[in-house]
């Protein structure tokens, strides 16, 4: 989780305009949520590594990718999404998309559970470890 903390902290420090336009650093509230989501999904060693990308309006995407199978957590200022996609484009579990004010804990916990199961499945095909500090 040290790697996750460092990555999120790095994206929190991005300069304004990092995208050549009006890109903002990752919003502090989303940084905290991002850390919690990664911690909830990656509950053991040997799983794929989360990869972090900022979005211009202060959000971020977290992606785990193995053999074309992709788990994505999308954190926007107004909405959270969590979805898994098999390499053939099929959904691995019901797509979770909720506005923050409309977030219901049981549904969120169910999505985290689905994401964890999916991540465990795709992590069995890992052949390459990403360089993490």
């Amino acid at each position: 989780m040290r790697y996750t903390q460092l990555e999120i902290a790095k994206l929190r420090r991005l300069p304004h305009g990092w995208d050549g336009g009006r890109g903002a650093p990752v919003h502090p509230s989303l940084a905290n949520v991002a850390f919690s989501i990664v911690a909830a999904i990656t509950n053991r060693h040997g799983l794929a590594t989360p990869q972090f990308s900022p979005t211009p309006d202060g959000g971020l995407d977290i992606v785990w990718l193995v053999g074309g199978n992709r788990l994505t957590a999308g954190l926007e200022l107004d909405e959270l999404s969590l979805y898994g996609t098999w390499a053939d484009g099929q959904n691995a579990f019901p797509r979770f998309e909720h506005r923050w004010f409309d977030l219901r804990r049981p549904e969120f916990e169910s999505a985290i559970h689905d994401a964890r199961i999916f991540l465990e499945k795709i992590s069995t095909d890992i052949e390459h470890q990403l360089p993490v500090p």
């Binding site: 995208d19 050549g20 990308s53 390459h128 990403l130």
Partner: protein, 142 residues
């Protein structure tokens, strides 16, 4: 937002510069194949679309993909117009947009446009498009 411009042919190549962030934050690496893709974050919308540059017009003016870079950290990737249209997005020629820092490459400025879809609706389209992008240059993390 401008509409799709049918005068831009399907086989044309568009170049786009990556954000000025570390390489690992605008790309995603597959942990089985080691294939490196652009992250969908490198295809984020501005108010008018996603800025790119037409290879054909750059060449007509003696320019090429290195001229798309704004600074050393920028990587460059390419997209084929037919891949963009296959995702129900459009391509609109937008030469010489108003800017604080005009550059000769502006003659080739082109926008990927949303064809009326919302940012949320077209995120899956951009995710699939990101898989088809070809990274030409990885830029510098310095």
């Amino acid at each position: 937002v401008k509409p799709d411009d049918p005068d831009i042919e399907d086989d044309e190549i568009l170049y786009r510069y990556s954000p000025s962030i570390p390489h690992s934050n605008w790309t995603v690496t597959d942990q089985e194949t080691q294939q490196v893709y652009i992250a969908v974050a490198a295809l984020s919308w501005d108010d008018d679309g996603i800025s790119c540059y037409r290879e054909r017009v750059l060449h007509d003016h003696g320019l090429d993909w290195p001229d798309v870079k704004r600074e050393p950290r920028n990587g460059v990737f390419s997209l084929v117009v037919q891949d963009i249209r296959a995702e129900r997005l459009g391509v609109a020629f937008d030469p010489n947009p108003e800017t604080d820092a005009p550059h000769p490459r502006d003659v080739a400025h082109t926008l990927i446009v949303n064809n009326g879809t919302s940012k949320k609706e077209n995120k899956p389209c951009r995710e699939r498009l990101a898989l088809r992008a070809r990274i030409i240059h990885h830029g510098s993390d310095e």
